[in-house]
Assembly symmetry: none
Homo-oligomer: 197 residues x 4
DNA sequence: CATGAATGAGTCTTCATTCAT
DNA sequence: TATGAATGAAGACTCATTCAT
């Protein structure tokens, strides 16, 4: 594997690449576009990275590592189901805030990429993800804090999608902090948008 | 424009193409893959269509036409805000049911395609869409049926995304009819997943 | 695997490719050079072949198949050691005559190519080859028709190289038929170039 | 021309390069592979050498200089034709022993390289070579020590190839000294491998 | 209607080479 | 002397598209 001496340059380039991947899609992003955005020639990128693929790889792997650091901390905290969901959602919006391009790439390309062995960790992560969220929801139903009349898998998908699609429109320069957005989302998800009668 | 003699063959081919586009993404879908799926050679597709682009074009345009037929009927019915939202959501899940590949393509590629003049109608549709949903939500807030303490644009995105992402996992062979899914989604969106205390 | 309908065109192109490979070496031969020699564009070759590699593959495999057809016939004929060597040498020069470019490629590139699993048959062939020649020589020593005072492996290499290097200078338009060359080579190999005293 | 301070380092590097060139072929050898083998970075080689080409150049030129030192001594010794051939063959195996990588490179690449003006000396050397060997053989035929019934150019190629291909399998750590191998080769070439009847 | 064959532009990648430090 | 980083030209391969049959 190509590893350049200065990790800062590497990270810089990966940030640039992530931005372009997120904006144009992995396939539509040519190595030349990334290089242009980085102010160098296409071939020069290969001094730092093995391939275009290894770039997404590193972008996604880095993001998922950080994501799971946060998630695992939440899951280990021994909170009740509702508080766990609240903490996971908040953590998710924080990740979207910090890794927006990576999250957008993950959303658009992970299904596609996961077909390759190299990206097996995407599938692994997705399974861990499902277990964490679905498990918490089930616990909540059991403990009577979440509604029992809903299809639990539907609920899971609802909550999951609801959070992560936000990465497609979220712009960090907006007026809302990730915590503020999380609070509103949680309010909608938990209590609905209808006025209580 | 190339027009083949039999419109049925044309529609068949477009269905095939839509399936492949949805499964692999527009860019990753080669004309050859579509032709393979249709049991012909790549070049032969050009008897029926001008280009790969004109295929997505026709797929998306057909879908949007039908979608707006349904939406316009709902919007013209003079329902109250809550009933309008319910009808729009239900209509949306019906469209997902009937045009799943088209919806999936729309989700993944529309931002990307809308950059080209040829696909200007995607932007138009999106604006009409926003006006319809956002307007209904605002009306609902004014009339006191939707919560006033939420950022209305956030609510809009929440409801919109919540519905359409379903196209990414929806499988028509499932146990749930579109109406059943719509009912559950509406229940979650309107009343939340938390048990009322 | 790409297989064009007309095997003749395929063979034509392979002949062209073999000529270029033989003249310039596999690595130094660009796909464009082959295409130029064939009067088409580089990309067009990929309608007929999967890759540059698959071209050499087919060239070498075809050659080796024919070679072993001939060799196996000789080995199955139940000849004495000396007659076997004579027949093998003659057969070899015939193959050089018919597949000169393929033989030249085999000489120059087989060691290099054999490293890849795809070309495993090169190693197999080489082992069969060694067994056939070395075995015959050993039989000859045992039966007293070949000298016993020589290192048998050295003799094997001597005879083997002696024959096959001829491919590097042999030109089919020469005055010598393959049989004539074989006869002279055999005379040298068997009886030496020195005048008997 | 770049000239490094210590000629020993230069020679070390050339030996390394020759080894890699011989093992992988000139074209397939990247400057980076040579640098790896030498324990430095690719760019660093350019402190010592002008180019990859100048490396082979120096390797081959050095080898040919030494070869001709030996050959010229033999040719000047006034030996009879048979003794001259014996001495040349022995000298050749000694060169193979001392410059195996260079000889291998010469075998594989000289035809290819000779096309460039810079390597004109390869053609010159080859012509001198032919004159020496062919002349000696002709003298031998005239003097009645070599067979007159053979095509003399065929004989020349036979003897020449017979000796030099050995470089492709010769390994200095073997049981045979160059002189021993030369003796056996000469015995085969001069007297043949068949038992005299 | 469909095939077979080709085009040509573009993509990812490699690599010899340069040069400031 | 050697490194790190970059250049730029070229190479293998892909793919939308064309067109004669």
């Amino acid at each position: 594997m190509t590893v350049s001496a200065s990790p800062e340059r590497r990270r810089e380039l990966l940030n640039t690449a992530a931005e372009v991947f997120a904006a144009q899609g992995y396939n539509a992003t040519t190595v030349r576009k990334i290089a242009d955005a980085a102010g160098m020639l296409a071939g020069s990128l290969y001094y730092h990275f093995d391939s275009k693929e290894s770039m997404v790889d590193e972008i996604l792997a880095t993001f998922l590592t950080e994501l799971w650091d946060g998630y695992d901390a939440v899951l280990a905290a021994g909170l009740g189901p509702r508080e766990t969901i609240e903490a996971l959602v908040t953590e998710s919006f924080r990740e979207i805030d910090r890794h927006r391009p990576a999250v957008a790439i993950y959303q658009k390309e992970s299904r596609h990429l996961a077909a390759q062995p190299r990206f097996g960790y995407l599938t692994d992560s997705q399974q861990k993800f499902e277990k964490a969220w679905l498990g918490t929801l089930e616990r909540g139903v059991t403990e009577g804090v979440f509604r029992a009349d809903l299809d639990i898998r539907l609920t899971y998908r609802f909550v999951r999608d609801t959070v992560w699609v936000a990465a497609s429109w979220y712009r960090p320069d907006g007026h809302h902090s990730p915590e503020e957005i999380a609070r509103q989302y949680l309010s909608m998800v938990l209590d609905g948008i209808a006025v209580r009668t």
